[in-house]
């Protein structure tokens, strides 16, 4: 997008705010507004949503007028891997137990490090599993299942 929009960050950020503001107002239509003396559940969020729409529009406008330094690329790979590691933990911790779950988090999150070395990652995984089982499960008594089944 060379030359097109001047402040790309601001335009995108403004659109994000606009989206959230609109969502707040639109979803908030279902909630009773009440009166200023007895404010209903919809009163405060609707005001805030409207305010956010105005602010978002302002940020978009600024982005169109003021030049900003070029925005860095969105790194899709690391983003997906890091977030998948967390999601994997959520999916596996109750079914497979903490040992496998922690191992998965270490393995997947280490992938985008740029210097992935198997021996390092395996040692790290062992240390973290030891910590999770020794300190958190037995030491502090957090109710984790250790192994599957």
């Amino acid at each position: 997008m060379e030359g097109g929009i001047r402040g790309k960050q601001d335009v995108l950020a403004g659109l994000l705010f606009l989206f959230f503001g609109l969502a707040a107002v639109v979803l908030g239509r279902d909630y009773p507004l009440g009166t200023s003396m007895r404010m209903g559940p919809g009163y405060f969020p609707t005001i805030l949503g409207a305010l956010l729409i105005v602010l978002g529009a302002g940020v978009v406008l600024r982005g169109l007028l003021v030049r900003d330094e070029p925005m860095g690329r969105f790194e899709l790979g690391p983003t997906l891997l890091i977030l998948s590691a967390v999601a994997l933990f959520a999916l596996t911790v109750e079914r497979l137990g903490i040992v496998l779950s922690v191992t998965l988090v270490v393995l997947v999150s280490a992938l985008p490090s740029g210097h992935f070395r198997w021996h390092e990652v395996i040692v790290l995984a062992l240390v973290m599993v030891g910590l999770a089982v020794g300190l958190f499960t037995y030491g502090l008594g957090l109710p984790f299942k250790v192994f599957p089944g």
């Binding site: 959230f20 908030g28 200023s36 007895r38 911790v93 922690v102 210097h115």
Partner: protein
Amino acid sequence: MDLLANLAMGFAVALTWHNIAFCLLGVSLGTLVGVLPGIGPVATIAMLLPITFHFEPASALIMLAGIYYGAQYGGSTTSILINLPGEVSSVVTCLDGYQMARQGRAGPALAIAALGSFFAGCVSTLLVAMFAPPLAELAFKFGPAERFSLMLLGLVAAVILARGSLLKAVAMIVLGILLGLVGADPEVGRMRYTFGLPELTDGIGFVVVAMGIFAFGEIIANLEQREEREVFTKNIKGLWPTREDFRASWKAVLRGTAIGSLLGILPGGGAVLGSFAAYMVEKKIARDPSRFGKGAIEGVAAPESANNAAAQTSFIPLLTLGIPSNAVMALMVGAMIIHGIQPGPQVMTERPELFWGMIASMWVGNLLLVILNLPLIGIWVKLLTVPYRLLYPAIMVLCCIGIYSLNNSVFDVGVAVVFGFLGYVFIKLKCEPAPLLLGFVLGPMLEENLRKAMTISRGDPSVFFTRPLSLSMLTVAAILLVIMIVPTVRRGRDEAFQES
């Protein structure tokens, strides 16, 4: 004297072996995360919050507080040695600290930072002890209108604290408040923005948001920059500063302490604002401002004193008014609530041992920190050689365990994924996430007090302007806003942030 009797009671609590151990644990962890770039006190405290449930309340709070001010000490080490701030509050320390290290004077820089922090810590502990009781008295006079205005003032102050665009900072606060309102309406129980998910009835967990944004979002952003670090470890010859160094820096330490203490009390303030302001002042009043950025010792002494002072005085609004002034204090609220303590002025009267014990522990903690950071500096320096590629998967594991064990909820971990993504997007779009978090915490309180105030006044909004305390806070907020819009001040602020 009341103060002495109270402090004596506090030390009786803080000086038990048990609590000294927790204090040591807290400040060591604080130094550790302070030294390590890429993980800060917010993520750490959030991570440990669920575990503190198993401790006694006083021990838990002593440890968590130690993490916050301990991180201020540790942050300076990284700034000075590798020109990479371990904490945001140590950003300005890089400017002169790193230059000192390059000139082979890393030792004196580290020593002055630690000694300045210690002095500031002692003074601000005393300040907390002195000012908290009268402020708590005042707080009992607060009605919903005053509380609403005070929180508004805090949010305005948070805007100034944020880097970059003001407009975006305000928008982030509003978005934060909105996110804070998710869940059952406090008065009528109507579900708001829950999309029919029963897990959201009590709202989105604060820890979940904090970890998502400050841990996962940060990690993704950090992975983009694979910088080579240059560590000046060989250059630490003598630790002790020369007589000249002391002469040059004692006034800077005093000024830094004063500025930090003052800005710490301000809701929305905290360690970051304090260190920036202190550095700017030093540069302004210096006879030869051109020395700054080239290894001026005042440029290390002032901000390091200020950030530690501010870290401690920022407990004042929390302990007296029950209003958290920054993200760390918001986590402290969470810690208190876990133990069934409602933060606010009544803590001092109902749980004096807790209140004074925590204050006394700050002094103990500062003493421990000087020991940890001067004779033992070598250990922390070694830690800097641990590569990030080994560090962040470990952080990931600890965060996952922390979020899950808060409520034993898989759902919470899933929500953290969403906020991790949002956090990364915010960083990319240059939207500072700290104001969002503050808005998120204050949101529900803001709404509750607004509704109460309006009901009491029978729907007349003038109540906020006719009650003197409320009016004065709104006036201060308005003045701050106007000052921020004045072009010259804005430029000054931009410059200050630019230098970092």
